[in-house]
């Protein structure tokens, strides 16, 4: 007795164009996709002037220099030494408003690093000193 098995049938659709399209899609998604973890830092838009603060709690205006050091009352400090210094003089430093006043040509990364160090030290009220409007 002879059994006849059917020969394996050829697939109706060729795989080659499918692979081509999948490759093209893969290249597109690899190039167009972004895996960056973008976040934001909130910046107070209100003009932070000394006048606008209450007289009981005047803000601490801190100059920021290009090398990442900070200055207060004409003296230059590293951020950590400034925080220690201020903690000795002030009891409620955590609630004190700190206004960062970057010098000319201080890069944004340096300013953000200074802001971050203050915030990570437990100070919540840290923002940038926005120059007051000049009347034309």
């Amino acid at each position: 007795m002879r059994f006849f098995t059917e020969p394996p049938s050829k697939p109706l659709i060729s795989l080659t164009p499918l692979i081509d399209i999948v490759f093209i899609l893969l290249i597109f998604f690899m190039l167009a996709s972004s895996f960056m973890d973008w976040r934001v830092i909130e910046i107070a838009v209100s003009t932070a002037s000394v006048k606008s603060q209450s007289k009981d709690q005047p803000p601490l205006i801190v100059k920021v220099f290009q090398d990442g050091q900070v200055g207060i009352s004409g003296k230059k400090y590293s951020i950590m030494s400034l925080i220690e210094q201020t903690r000795k003089n002030e009891t409620d430093i955590e609630n004190k408003t700190i206004l960062l006043k970057p010098e000319e040509d201080v890069s944004l990364q340096v300013s953000i690093d200074v802001l971050q160090k203050f915030t990570l030290s437990g100070m919540t009220e840290v923002s940038f000193f926005i120059p007051l409007m000049k009347d034309k």
Binding site: L15, V22, F23, R39, E42, V45, S46, Q116
Partner: protein, 133 residues
């Protein structure tokens, strides 16, 4: 006989490409699901890195600032004067303004721009940063 040999070769070829197709499909699915397709910037902007972060707001007015004084609003490049005029035309001043500024930008220029936002009665501004590990 010859015909049968050719058929066998073709069948082997298809079998050999199957793992490749599987992997390519898996990679495609990974990039489609894990990646986010974003409109690329008109000019090169590398935002600063930071550890102090909050979540992005998708309804924000998007502004890009390069280190060489190029500005863009919602993907369209403007001069500073034109940008100020465009911002003036935005009716809803409660919308947050999301600034994507280059890490090497002079902070003073950003502060002057924030002053302009204040003048135009915008209430909230955020600065785009990439998370620092």
């Amino acid at each position: 006989m010859k015909r049968r040999l050719i058929d066998m070769d073709e069948a082997e070829e298809v079998e050999n490409t199957l793992p490749l197709i599987n992997i390519v499909f898996l990679l495609l699915i990974f990039f489609m699901i894990a990646g986010v397709i974003e409109k690329s910037d008109l000019f090169d902007v590398n935002p600063p890195k930071s550890q102090v972060l909050t979540e992005k707001n998708d309804t924000a007015v998007k502004i890009s600032m390069s280190k060489d004084d190029r500005f863009a609003l919602e993907g369209v490049e403007y001069s500073m004067k034109e940008l100020v005029a465009q911002l003036n035309g935005i009716a809803d001043k409660n919308r947050p303004v999301e600034i994507k500024a280059d890490a090497a930008l002079d902070t003073h220029k950003l502060l002057l721009f924030l002053r302009e936002l204040k003048k135009q009665k915008f209430k909230q501004a955020t600065l785009l940063v990439s998370s620092k590990q």
